[in-house]
Subunit: 384 residues, 2 copies
């Protein structure tokens, strides 16, 4: 049975001191049900993607459920770090495939500016394996800096290659009204920015943001009945890698991404060459280069050349992160996976403004990484 | 398609300073796969039930997945407060019903003694709706004290009724080697214990604990092939109520429990009179009385008489919490739902020691509440 996307809602990402997390969720939810042309009563269940630790409010799913007016329907929250939104989509998809629910709302939402900077730093400082790795100072930029150093060493990837990813994503982010950073940057500016963890500079890193995104999913018959242009979740991959990077086979890619992509391509019956538009998890610029390779858009080690040749721009082999990516759109961790799927669904519907539309896109992909690659979710989407 | 329980594993609940959360998970997981007679490679996916905020380690699902040796298989974590374990069971059940996975490990695990007491108090102080209710001092005992006061006012429920719940659960907890409190208490001792929030006293409250429990679920054909005595997840209910108690229709029951029970009974094709053994969410003694009523074991308001007449003891109408319940077994929040299902499955298999076995039990039930009732999951289990 196919599961279709019939409603898309996306809020503005940024420092949203104007809204609580439930208000952010509502903003996206209202847009999604209006887009679907349904009412709250038509929804059988909701699933919330979020990382609870960043919020003072506990029981986020319960608070959101009440605020959206969905009580007494079922809800639950999924958490797999920065891939929490994609896990929410996956369990919603499972609930429809299982014949248990017909229409499910998936809400990715995250308020990251509610807690204090020391509290955020304390959380961010414990993203790795706490017992054996965090004690050595392996923070997020630290891990991705290791990936970058090794990629440079093995494949002659350069700081310029990394900067080009940021330039592309800011170029498209400037054209996305929901993005946090809506301005273009030059390669020179990126390369002159402050170093965070060698070789990563400020412009190699994505930024925390508040935000929410929502999808309405429906089982095939309902989707065809309700929507003129359903987009199908055609391939759904989910895989893990060890938390400890010490136990990874290498540091130049994410084994979880390779495996999740394999599953998604197989289920959808397509290959990397069929993908016209993709959202990949560019938490750091090196992550986008590794994603090109792990997803099979190019061979391992050729990510630097891929961006240098502008093959991930619109008009290249596959348009990647043409909404700005995590880099320019911002990264409200629980919302990111849902935001990615919203963007691909909009691209496949042809409803993106012309300055960042991928013409004729019929097959798209999302690649959402949790943490340092201990989780990866890959989806292949197809239009009717 | 039926989904069966083929493996059960349960660790010791208590102050487990001897083990990290992943070690607790492993203890239960190893017991479950040994019980099922399968190997790690037979497992397609794992789902973790836990509340992340209590742990220093982040990405719990990833850490547990690595420690159990299940990489690169899929995993995700579900969080719905104290019902997180039941949400994990639900999404695992969905994944099997959906035809996506054949055999799934569900691990409920929680380390609650890892963070400091002030940190725990800060978390526990924010269990309600933070913006509008927590500011008035509504902590967990505060909410359940309101439920108890109102129940006493409307139905002449007495402190003695509440104490009798604690006496029963300690009686059975004393016979459960996995329980935190393994000693019987008298009604007099319970009634003389210190007041926490009028009318609730120390012995009306369950206790935080560390612990883990694990279930191996399989699709029907696999379950029949692997297990001589599968227990079936015959009815699966899940519902919500408003977080704000201000918006509840009354304070003498949980509307989410009534609705979740309705769903579970309907799916299983049974009624409350068919249930021989039940695990209900006795986070406070009043919660067990309300559960008798919400689940239909007796009429609304008759919970006090139900326990006074020992109708929830073995030999009564329905044996309730004969493993000690949250009260005596301890309440490692993410593990609790899985622990409940482990106990019912063991009872239906007839594998519980004679001093707390429910003779001839063929149909059982679990009732797992999240927070102050904003979530409730009810399962009906049947033996082959």
């Amino acid at each position: 049975m196919r599961v279709g996307i019939i409603g898309i809602g996306h809020g503005v990402f940024g420092r949203r001191s104007d809204a609580t997390v439930q208000e952010l969720a509502f903003e996206a939810f209202r847009a999604a049900i209006e887009d679907a042309g349904i009412e709250r009563k038509d929804i059988d269940c909701s699933v919330i993607g979020a990382v609870p630790e960043y919020h003072k409010q506990r029981s986020l799913a319960g608070v959101v459920q009440e605020y959206l007016g969905l009580v007494p329907k079922p809800t639950w929250l999924t958490e797999v770090a920065c891939a929490s939104g994609s896990a929410a989509i996956r369990t919603a998809w499972l609930s429809i495939r299982a014949g248990v629910h017909d229409i499910v709302a998936v809400i990715g939402c995250q308020k990251m500016t509610e807690i204090s900077t020391p509290e955020i730093l304390a959380l961010m400082g414990r993203v790795g394996e706490v017992q054996w790795e965090s004690v050595f100072g392996t923070t997020f930029p630290g891990y991705y800096a290791m990936f970058a150093m090794r990629h440079m060493h093995e494949f002659q990837t350069t700081p310029e290659h990394l900067a080009e990813v940021a330039v592309k994503n800011h170029f498209y982010g400037a054209r996305n009204p929901c993005a946090l950073f809506r301005k273009e940057i030059t390669r020179e500016r990126a390369l002159a920015s402050e170093e965070v963890a060698t070789p990563l500079r400020v412009f190699d890193c994505c930024a925390n943001a508040d935000g929410a995104a929502c999808l309405i999913l429906a089982r095939e018959e309902k989707a065809l009945e309700i929507s003129k242009k359903p987009v199908w979740l055609a391939g759904m991959g989910c895989a893990t890698a060890s938390m400890s990077v010490l136990r990874r086979p290498n540091l130049v890619g994410l084994p979880s991404a390779v495996e999740a992509a394999r599953q998604a391509y197989e289920m959808a019956g397509v290959g990397p060459g069929d993908i016209k538009v993709a959202e990949v998890h560019d938490c750091f610029t090196i992550a986008e280069l590794m994603a090109y390779e792990d997803l099979g858009f190019c061979k391992k080690g050729e990510g630097g050349r891929f961006i240098a040749e502008r093959r991930s721009y619109i008009g290249g082999s596959v348009a990647v992160n043409v909404d700005g990516g995590l880099k320019a759109k911002g990264h409200p961790i629980g919302a990111t996976g849902v935001s990615m799927t919203c963007e691909i669904a909009r691209q496949l519907r042809g409803e993106v403004p012309p300055d960042r539309l991928v013409p004729g896109a019929d097959i798209g992909l999302t690649h959402n990484v949790g943490g340092i690659g201990q989780y990866c979710f890959v989806q292949v989407l197809k239009r009717e």
